[in-house]
Symmetry: C3
Subunit: 463 residues, 3 copies
């Protein structure tokens, strides 16, 4: 077998026994996925996934960034192409470099899919490349591997996607109209219409106005259009917004100053500092709207996007060269918190790519402000060691109850059960250590395992 | 029972056995508490503590910040009120939210007091709230629970409090005059008269002058008044000073420049940078005086005080919204170290709220400069995981002998034995791992356990 | 015995068994040492090492910085003196303070040499000082302890030293000429001729010109001289360059701007920012030359050199007061990476003294850019805990294959086998944990143990 039943548990026998027991209590719980990047269209159309390379290699930047780092050509992998022309060739390249993933979560996620979904038992390698390719390709043609069938097989209770305010949400509507009883909901990600550095920003603002019957040339019309767009998302089940800013900076300008800044930004006359100030102000505006309409805010700051100019220009965005940078929260969030930090009806979930902020800033902030919660370890840190560091560095100050369970945050649909399984196992491993060291009673650990898996997620995301 | 005999020890059997043996050698040693925030008046007056809520909830910002973060009202908890009007109601709120502390050191400190002092055996919860309240309230009325009796029961050898230079130290004097043979000593914390941002700064400087018969309108008189105030503290057993600056910045101005800056600061004409420069210069002045009078310096930098404007305005200072921020030492300390860094008769104990500085700056600095020692993990990091990170990240570069044992640093008198017990257990757990991994001999670990508990504390603090 | 056979392995029995097995497969492999600071002259001359103090105390800043931090006088240790006048006295001071090294890697390195080379079995202390001194002094006079004999005994396959471009490399030439079949190669460290803050910078540039027959008063001549110096190093086996800048800043100026900046720098008219910009530009120039001549680049940024002014002035450079500081890579490296980051034929090995960059910046960068590799944990972090943090924080994002094995980086020749042994043990301990937690198969761990010890080193350094 590719996977061991006790994987990710402590090897020490007393803690191992506790971890097994905790995991037994939660392994079969449904999956609540409140944040991610799958495509609603897959479920609306319910068409077969094309081939192993298009499914597992081409869309997964975790996979091809590692291959690229070791000299594999992104042209050879057909990254950024609309269709994979020679999927077997791509697959063979991938298979022959599979050893590169030793020790990485990608390896664990893929092995899970290989074993649990495709029944593979021998490790992927150059030697087994074709056996894998054929087996996967064949299964993908069967009804059991259509998107809706997989959704049900994965025991998903909720699946949230992430969309621009400009998205017509036709796929979400189509799912609803189809009568299929799945809870697939959009999350409202306004970056294209609040970040002046977004491509085609002015056009997007105009489009936002048209779609919502507002004059977005004015600050007031712009805010109203955003309100209406949020309301439209809510009718399709949306419970959250998401904000992917370069920093966590917030601002609390007067409405007159904000209106003037908006005018300058829209006219393309704002410099870098003013663009940053505008994004900062918009976080506070979004918090204000969240108080009105109840949408939960998620802030995902600190990624230097498209660090590799050549790769971005040739292969497009989101192709593996986003790099984290040091991120301040304590000063950056203060304007927003001064304004809304003590609101009990507001929920802001904070994420970080800078693990140094866990114990220094995020846990102290979330352990005090009623509106703040901590999102799980994110992106590069969404891994066994990363998840463990999160719990170790956050729990003692913020407790468990200021955290919100797991996000798979993935574009790779097939990795969802694997990712949730890893998160459940690591949480059980952490709890088991606390119990084995007599820092928590076992009955409390069982209760917490369930809460971390289901209850805290639903509560935080208002699902 | 609420507590297990092996709590905080490694669960692996060979390390567990060593940890037990090390702990057995130190568990009954007296407590040396060289830094904290208890009130000398408790011991001078020796009156009963009023009630469970006033004793365990209202003064403990670790407790109520967590409750507040989860939506409990600070009004309901009667935070900031001179007297708790409805202690049973406050206690019930606390008890019904006690599960929030799972996995936190607060839980462990409280359970220790509940079991060891009040004989409780069932976990605190909504259900057991009244049983606890009644049992604790009853005991507080007994002579065994008067402050002096507890001091003796806790086996305290030294207890240091922290006072402003303006404090008349009447309570300290009264303890001495009473003939009670306890060693309760003040620490000299000059923030109110060296930090221009302190409330009523100019008034404090004037008061400092009056109290010490110096003209504090002049730089020279100001320094002399500080010298005299330090001398007055020394007569009551003081061996240390303490400095809680926003940063670790030091400066080494000429005396003429320092005098001019003092004039500007005193006149209220200094801008933020000049206020920071004045604080920086005063650290160097305090080091100079320490060379003269032998007081050990403690520097506690890096807290953004009163981050929550609303909470500070409504409930006062020290109410749970101080948040750490990134803190530089390598550049900030250089002016002071250029001047006094190689003095063997000077001791400066450095603390941090930014754990990233442990391995990067603090251990390398303390592992070189003769005047520097590292204080234990502080505040949010004064926890099992935090203490372990401190030892893991500091020991390999600075060794054990550039550290100074444990500080309980608490306002919560009843938590003192619990906190020292946690520290002793974590030190034993760390030493046991080194022995179990054959990185240290067991006889050395026994010697170190004693030194970390007693000898290094007394030596560093000159007790 | 001073050392236990299972030292540094996990104490948990299942992981311990795996660690032992992994270590058995690599413990006797030859040592490849691609980066360090031993002296080629030792091997050219092959003279006996003078005495225990001159061999083990005086040149080792790890040793005397710790002694100094605890009040031992550097004068008494005869630091910075050409010859140790009273070696027995120095040795006794060292021995009586040997307990200070408890828990440090220095203790483990020294104990290894004491036991494996000198046959000591009782711990070094004040009591055993003379026994040690006499035993070591006697052995140093024997042929078995001549530098070449030790080189062979240590089973060194490659040993790289580090030299200035101005170094005539006579010792390296002499080793070659002697016919002795050892592979001792220089590394090209141009700091004295690319860092305007280097002592005697202008004179060094002139000397560089004379040695290479170029007019280094011009930018073009300067670059040509560097090219020729690199070529000269290559003829003696050099495969790498090394760059010890204060920061990781790079730049990509036009050649005209670079030439103008060079003129200003050479004239001594550049301010601090321009000096930094010049160093930044030179990293990019060095990368350009590496693409031409194939030398592998190493970047070692982030040390604040000679932090202790007094110690530097009195005892010289490299005397234990270099202190790490926070180091940015994500922004700093961008100019160089924009220019050359996608070159498959370029290898740049990044090091850090700021462990926060492991998971936040370095692993994400190396897990994407084809030219980047991560050097092992460096200097203060070259320790059991430090090495473990490196693997734990880097592997999940960058994998094992973007790392380059171990560097001993030492001036202390006798510590080389000890240091490599520690690295091998820690790697085995890390791999064993992955296997014991079923995150890696045991056959893969065996393969990786060999690759981390030999193959990845040779590949990265083109040896």
């Amino acid at each position: 077998m590719l996977l061991h039943e006790d994987r990710l548990f402590p090897s020490e026998s007393s803690a191992l026994k506790i971890a097994r027991s905790l995991y037994a209590g939660i392994r079969n719980l449904p999956i609540v996925s409140p944040h991610g990047h799958t495509q609603a269209a897959w479920f609306a159309e319910n068409k077969p996934f094309p081939d192993p390379a298009a499914l597992l290699v081409q869309p997964d930047h975790y996979v091809f960034r590692m291959l690229y780092s070791q000299g594999v050509s992104m042209d050879d992998l057909e990254i950024g192409q609309p269709v994979v022309k020679d999927p077997r060739r791509v697959w063979r390249i991938f298979a022959s470099h599979y050893y590169l993933f030793r020790g990485t979560p990608t390896r664990m996620w893929l092995d899970y899919a290989f074993q649990e979904l495709f029944g593979m038992t021998e490790r992927l390698s150059e030697k087994t490349a074709d056996v894998y390719f054929d087996a996967i390709a064949e299964k993908l043609k069967t009804p059991e591997f259509l998107p809706r069938a997989l959704y049900e097989r994965f025991n998903l209770e909720v699946l949230s996607t992430t969309e621009s305010p400009l998205d017509p949400l036709e796929a979400h509507q189509a799912i609803r109209d189809s009568g299929w009883k799945a809870r697939i909901v959009p999350s409202f990600r306004p970056d294209p219409v609040v970040d002046p550095e977004s491509k085609g920003f002015a056009g997007s603002i105009a489009q936002l106005g048209e779609q919502n019957g507002e004059d977005t040339a004015t600050w007031k019309g712009y805010l109203n259009a955003l309100r209406k767009a949020r309301a439209r998302f809510k009718t399709l089940g949306c419970t959250s917004t998401d904000h992917g800013h370069p920093t966590a900076q917030t601002a609390d300008l007067t409405q007159a100053d904000a209106a003037a800044l908006f005018g300058k930004v829209l006219a393309g006359k704002a410099d870098a500092a003013e663009q940053e100030l505008f994004r900062a102000q918009m976080l506070t505006e979004m918090a204000r709207m969240s108080l009105e309409d109840g949408l939960v805010m998620q802030i995902h700051p600190g990624s230097v996007r498209n660090h590799n100019k050549f790769v971005c220009e040739r292969y497009g965005r989101d192709t593996g060269s986003d790099i984290p940078s040091a991120t301040d929260y304590v000063h950056a969030l203060r304007p927003l918190l001064d304004r809304f930090g003590n609101e009990k009806n507001l929920t802001i979930i904070l994420f970080t790519l800078d693990e140094t902020s866990y114990s220094r800033e995020l846990a102290p902030l979330a352990g005090h402000y009623p509106c703040l919660r901590l999102g799980p370890s994110w992106w590069f840190h969404d891994s066994p060691e990363g998840m463990m560091r999160f719990r170790e560095q956050v729990t003692e100050t913020a407790g468990f109850y200021n955290t919100v369970g797991f996000n798979d945050d993935t574009r790779a649909f097939l990795s969802i059960p694997a990712r949730h399984d890893v998160a459940r196992r690591v949480d059980c491993a952490f709890l088991a250590r606390l119990v084995a060291e007599h820092r928590l009673d076992e009955d409390e650990a069982h209760e917490l395992a369930h809460q971390l898996t289901i209850d805290l997620v639903k509560k935080a995301y208002r699902l």
